[in-house]
């Protein structure tokens, strides 16, 4: 029984961590280029609604693609204003979040009626990997998940390789540290940052799609419920590194799962403690981390309007 419970817990933690990891991996790329996109929350909720609409029309797998496209569209707006027009990134991001939350709520009512009644969509079924999924304890958590989990897991080494082992990854990190020096060495900082923001948008949209298509199966206004901000915390806790993000996302996934488990077991532990704990941990980690693991030096800095 207790082994079963532990396995269930791990399984649910990985499932809860998946949208967080997808969003955080995208934001890692964005922040590595020196841009902070606080509009991630708006991107995720756009991905949620687009995923639902896409799945209702074409099935869940296509729905996932539609959610990525919606995330990309939101990222284009952010990139145009924050990078193209060199406006303040924080204010732009805040507006994008407001836009995403408002627009999805309005569109949902327009598309599916004023009642806002829940429209259910078929979800992505878990893809079990033969033999591996039967490994006791970790089998179902790691090898019997829906498509987005494998996608997120694959992205971790891919992004690591890109950021640390390729010329273009180096250019991206150089831009995040010192755009002027990057420009002097022949890199176009704004082009690099725009690309990074678009990648972040696709990942954020996928995160929203995952939430709807692999977990909830429906849309509700404001269902992203702060996951965009969680993802930004994960990026920081993961020290702006894909592998770090994966570990941090799992931690946040476990914390939110713990909340459900305590409720299900009827334990009288205030669940808010578990919800707040990862954030406090992140703050502590940020304060204590050595200067080697600091944020990209140019993070959030407004760009000059000429390249």
């Amino acid at each position: 029984m207790s082994a079963n419970l532990a396995s269930d817990f791990l399984d649910a933690s990985v499932r809860n961590a998946t949208p967080l990891l997808l969003a955080a991996l995208g934001e890692t790329v964005v922040e590595r280029s020196g841009v902070i996109n606080v509009g991630l929350e708006g991107t995720i909720i756009a991905g949620c609604l687009a995923g639902l609409a896409g799945a209702a029309a074409f099935g869940p797998t296509t729905g996932l693609l539609v959610s990525a496209a919606a995330g990309l569209a939101i990222a284009v707006i952010f990139a145009f204003i924050a990078i193209g027009l060199a406006a303040d990134q924080i204010i732009t991001g805040t507006a994008i979040t407001m836009l995403g939350l408002g627009l999805t709520g309005t569109l949902y009512r327009l598309l599916y009626g004023d009642s806002g009644a829940a429209l259910r969509t078929p979800t992505l079924s878990p893809i079990g990997i033969p033999l591996l999924k039967d490994i006791p304890f970790i089998g179902s958590a790691l090898f019997d998940q829906a498509l987005p989990t494998y996608l997120a897991a694959a992205l971790v080494p891919i992004l690591w390789w890109w950021l640390y082992r390729t010329q273009s990854g180096l250019a991206l990190r150089a831009t995040g540290e010192n755009p002027d020096a990057a420009r002097a060495s022949g890199i176009a900082p704004r082009r690099v940052q725009t690309l990074a923001v678009l990648i972040g948008g696709v990942c954020g949209g996928l995160a929203g799609g995952t939430l709807v298509l692999a977990q909830v199966g429906t849309f509700a206004e404001g269902m992203s419920a702060g996951r965009g901000f969680v993802a930004i915390a994960i990026v920081a806790l993961g020290r702006w590194h894909p592998v770090g993000a994966a570990m941090a996302a799992l931690l946040f996934g476990m914390a939110s799962t713990l909340q459900f488990f305590f409720q299900a077991l009827n334990l009288q532990v205030p669940y808010q403690v578990f919800l707040a704990l990862p954030y406090l941990l992140t703050l502590l980690a940020l304060a204590l981390s050595s200067s080697r693991y600091r944020a990209p030096a140019a993070l959030g800095r407004r760009q000059q309007s000429v390249d």
Partner: protein, 364 residues
Amino acid sequence: MTVRRVTRAILEPLLAGVLAVLMLAVLLGVSGYPVGEALSALWRGAFGSWSVIASGTLVRATPLLFAGLAVAVAFRAGILNIGAEGQLLMGACAATAVSVAVPPSFGAAGLILALLAGIVAGGTWAAIPAVMRLRFGVLEVISTIMLNVVALNITGLLVRGPLQETTHTFPQSALLDRALRLPQLMTGSRLHAGVLLALVTAIGLAWFLRATAPGYRLRMTGANPAAAASAGRIDVGRVMFAAFVLSGALAGLGGAVEVTGVTYALYENLSPGYGYTAIAVALLARLNPASAIGAAVVFGALEAGASAMQRDAQVPAGMVGVVEASVILVLLASEWVGARVAARGASIRGGTPRAENLPGPAVS
């Protein structure tokens, strides 16, 4: 304040309001809602009568003004405090805790204690990211976002635990005793004395920034920290810490006023994102405290009108969120256009462009 500045402080929010209504009209038309009916509901809900202006628009504008001032003063000092939401909530929690603890016989003294508690709690909550930024180099953007979530969870914990009402059924605090509430300004309306407090605070803050030495140091620190430190011999770290705490205190006071003047109890969802809309308020006011009054009224009217529009014309309230966001984005874009025009004019005259941008996020 010169006549020109006063005119601008009134005209700009007004223009933004007109722009917002125009955008809303287009949005309504595209989505197939009856435009005229919806807009007239918006108008009735925001400015339909004196009592609606008082109970709706002004009551809604008050927390936006406090939080908007908090954002403006932080941004002026070069601090990207996006934690007004959490600081406001902590202020509300502290004010409730005091109001529940003091006997009603304290009357006005109890009320003042509650407001002070809100100020202290908001300031203390802001001191955390301030110390993290100045001692450990943690970006305040990231730390304040996280502290907002922590504050929300603390509020949730309090209304289900130590501060829960006596029957222990609802996730909210007990209602504040009448003697400990902010006095009403008009009988039969919800307009409370907190509105005046917000106005006085805005004007006081404008004077502080413009006419006092600490206000000058704050502005210099935000405009160019390196120059302020070397040429002005300003202790930049100390000024930033003080500005951060002041910012949090303003938001905390806003939370305390909301509890003692409007809700009379602590709820988990006390704030429908006041701390985030406040960023729009501060931006529309060009980080000028006096102009924030008009900006807060514009956004207060939009939100009050949105409720009426939802009630009378079944227009989803989310649409106003879209409009608010669009106004911010248009403002950002117009700032860019303005800077271009100013730069061209300056180069024609052979002078340097007058930088009137927002302070860029000063990253250490």
